[in-house]
């Protein structure tokens, strides 16, 4: 049987070891070890999470603050390695965890396009081909040779979003970033995501806006305190979630 899962998470645990007082230097480490003051506490951020995402699917992650949504996204995008469990990713990922990751604010917008592309693993040549589309989408025609330290946060966000979506990733990871920019740009972003979805891109979204999730997602995973509460069709899960919230 053909397996068209592009993302697979199997019994993923993520434990953070929280030293009650953080030891940052060798000197401190030696002193504390000698005094036997070294103690750790484990904090489980993701607790036995398993789910699959099929190729071309749009999946939303919902849950209250501290429910492990962002940690799960970071595990999917490879930033964090789970303490135990298995993660299988079969495609190129473009993470939009935080806008402007990998930007150097002293460089111009154009240089940053290459830098950011390189961060995501694309060569200068590939980025050059996409340059026009990126400029068009971000609407920064006149500012491409300005150092981005002079940009407004909205401009930076537009540039970052343009790069992340124009490189045609197989998987797009979006964390709470659709709230940036003006009303028109937000619409444009959603249109872009819709277009990518119809083009077969797999999208994983984290958002607190249930409306947005309902508009965009095929399926939803509801997390609470690191555990999966419910996985299912968007309508079902969102209804339940609203129910819980109103209670």
């Amino acid at each position: 049987m053909e397996n068209d899962n592009i993302i697979e998470l199997r019994n993923v645990f993520m434990k953070f070891r929280m030293a009650s007082q953080r030891v940052e230097t060798l000197k401190e480490f030696v002193i504390r070890t000698l005094k036997r003051q070294l103690s750790f506490e484990d904090f489980v951020a993701v607790n036995d999470v398993s789910f699959d995402v099929k190729r071309g699917e749009v999946v939303g992650l919902i849950g209250l603050n501290g429910s492990g949504k962002s940690t799960t996204l970071k595990i999917i995008s490879g930033i964090l390695k789970p303490t135990s469990g298995e993660v299988v990713i079969k495609g190129k990922i473009s993470p939009l965890i935080e806008l402007g990751a990998g930007f150097d604010f002293d460089l111009t917008a154009r240089e940053n396009v290459f830098l950011n592309g390189a961060v995501l693993g694309y060569s200068k040549k590939e980025m050059l081909e996409k340059m026009d589309e990126i400029i068009d989408f971000s609407e920064l025609h006149d500012f491409m040779d300005t150092p981005i330290k002079n940009f407004s946060s909205g401009m930076v966000a537009r540039l970052a979003f343009a790069i992340a979506t124009q490189i045609d990733p197989e998987i797009l990871i979006v964390d709470e970033i659709l709230g940036v920019g003006d009303f028109l740009f937000q619409q444009k972003c959603e249109q872009r995501i819709n277009k990518m979805m119809s083009g077969g891109t797999t999208v994983v979204i984290v958002s607190h806006s249930i409306e947005q999730i309902e508009r965009l997602c095929d399926r939803v995973v509801w997390l609470d305190h690191g555990k999966v509460v419910m996985i299912g069709q968007t309508a079902d899960v969102c209804a339940q979630y609203r129910n819980m919230a109103s209670r």
Binding site: F16, R17, E24, T25, L26, K27, F29, S77, G78, I79, L80, K81, I93, P95, I97, E98, A101, G102, D104, D106, L107, E111, F114, L115, G117, A118, V119, L120, G121, Y122, S123, K124
Partner: protein, 445 residues
């Protein structure tokens, strides 16, 4: 298409190094010297000229190497042979005559044998000699290279440099490893990933270069001027205040410091590379070794600027250029691998313990004084610190670069092996440490 070019270049490289290694030792000019020496009479005072042979940068194998010094006519308490020699079970035999017309006989001879690598052979002669013959014939299956012979502290500079037959072997080995790596399936995914992130490395390096030079008027020129000025200072200080018996001292210093500073720059930049990339590591997946690697590449670029400074100083001091200079990249490659491995360890350690930064700067200072950079190598040996020298990888890299650039000698197989062993061991250790700890980086940065 690219593959074909790569393979062709590699094959050409093999053939070239094979030809090189076969051709070089065969230039046997030793007989010329012998004749030249025997036909002329030299007093010890007359020996103070640069090279009986070797002025034109010629090399020869050591077979039948004899140095005859007539009209010594004095009491010889000791003979010092200094230079670079490596040898397994090698010995030097000193013949001497006391009467006019007396042939050299084994009865009137002294043998000194040794079983190690070093840079000075001390022969306790205690003879009244009319003429001397120094035979370097007895050494077997390895090579001997002596650039300096002293008789009772009066220096006669010889440039008898033998060439190790297998000196190019390591380069061939590296080529084969590359070749296999290129075709070996098992590591292909890693190589692919590495290749995928190469643009990031070049991007980060060019960013570092821009940041470094953007705010200075002379820009890239500083990378050349800085070592030049440093060499000037060192030259002034050491030719006036502390005098060492080193020919072309400024070049000696500059070549040594070039590769030493390269390693220090690599490691100390790599040390903080992961921490300073925290913004990126927290948000995007990037293979984390890219950061220390990129810092090493950056240092490599800076060192290449420094090479220009070395050439300038060599021209000013009139240091003869040798064909072996073209091999300057060999010790640099060794040092790069070593520095990268060490950088991995430091980068990983610094994530957990920030104060390693301060400890390391002390460490490098100590390291510099234990490496023969501003003083001659013999100084460590004669002070009983030879063991430190032999355990210090930087000694081998500085020595190697000086050999090929200044002295026109090719380091022996042993020396090459030492360089490779240090580099590979460091690389493996670095990779293990880094790999074991890299998943925890994000929790500490």
């Amino acid at each position: 298409m690219k593959k074909k070019i790569f393979v062709t270049v590699l094959l050409l490289f093999f053939v070239a190094s094979l030809v090189f290694s076969v051709y070089y030792p065969s230039r046997d000019n030793i007989s010329n010297i012998k004749n030249g020496l025997e036909n002329k009479k030299y007093s010890i005072d007359e020996l103070e000229f640069p090279g009986w042979y070797g002025e034109d940068g010629d090399y020869a194998s050591m077979e039948d190497a004899q140095i005859i010094i007539k009209d010594v006519n004095t009491y010889v308490s000791s003979i010092k042979l200094s230079g670079n020699y490596t040898g397994k079970n090698s010995h030097v035999q000193i013949f001497y005559t006391t009467k006019q017309g007396e042939p050299f006989t084994p009865e009137k001879s002294k043998i000194v044998s040794w079983y190690s690598t070093g840079s000075r052979i001390y022969i306790d002669a205690d003879i009244e000699a009319l003429s001397l013959r120094i035979d370097l014939t007895e050494q077997r299956d390895d090579e001997l290279s002596i650039s300096n012979i002293e008789l009772n502290d009066r220096t006669a500079v010889f440039s008898i440099n033998s060439v190790a037959k297998w000196c190019v072997l390591p380069t061939i080995l590296v080529g084969i490893v590359l070749f296999v790596a290129f075709y070996f399936r098992g590591i292909k995914p890693y190589l692919d990933k590495f290749k995928q992130y190469m643009p990031l490395v070049t991007n980060l390096v060019s960013r570092d270069l821009k940041v470094k030079y953007r705010r200075s008027v002379l820009g890239f020129l500083w990378s050349i001027l800085n070592p030049l000025l440093m060499a000037l200072v060192i030259h002034t200080v050491f030719s006036r205040l502390f005098r060492f018996d080193i020919q072309y001292f400024a070049t000696y210093y500059l070549v040594g410091s070039l590769i030493f500073n390269f390693v220090v720059e690599c490691t100390s930049n790599a040390l903080g590379s992961v921490i300073s990339a925290s913004a990126l590591i927290k948000k995007v997946y990037i293979p984390k070794y890219i950061f220390p690697f990129q810092k090493c590449v950056f240092a490599l670029v800076n060192m290449l600027f420094g090479c220009v400074a070395v050439i300038v100083v060599m021209l000013i001091q009139g240091v003869p250029f040798h064909a072996t200079m073209l091999l300057f990249f060999v010790p640099m490659c060794y040092a790069f691998v070593f520095a990268y491995g060490f950088g991995l360890v430091l980068a990983a350690a610094t994530v957990f313990f920030r104060d390693i930064q301060h400890l390391y700067s002390v460490f490098t200072a100590v390291w510099m004084y234990l490496t023969p950079i501003i003083y001659p190598e013999e100084m460590l040996l004669s002070n009983g610190l030879g063991i430190i020298m032999k355990l210090n990888p930087m000694y081998y890299y500085t020595h190697y670069l000086r050999s090929v650039v200044m002295y026109g000698t090719l380091p022996s197989l042993d020396e090459n092996i030492m360089c490779i062993v240090f580099a590979l061991v460091m690389l493996i250790v670095g990779n293990i440490v880094f790999k074991k700890t890299q998943d925890k980086f994000i929790l500490h940065i």
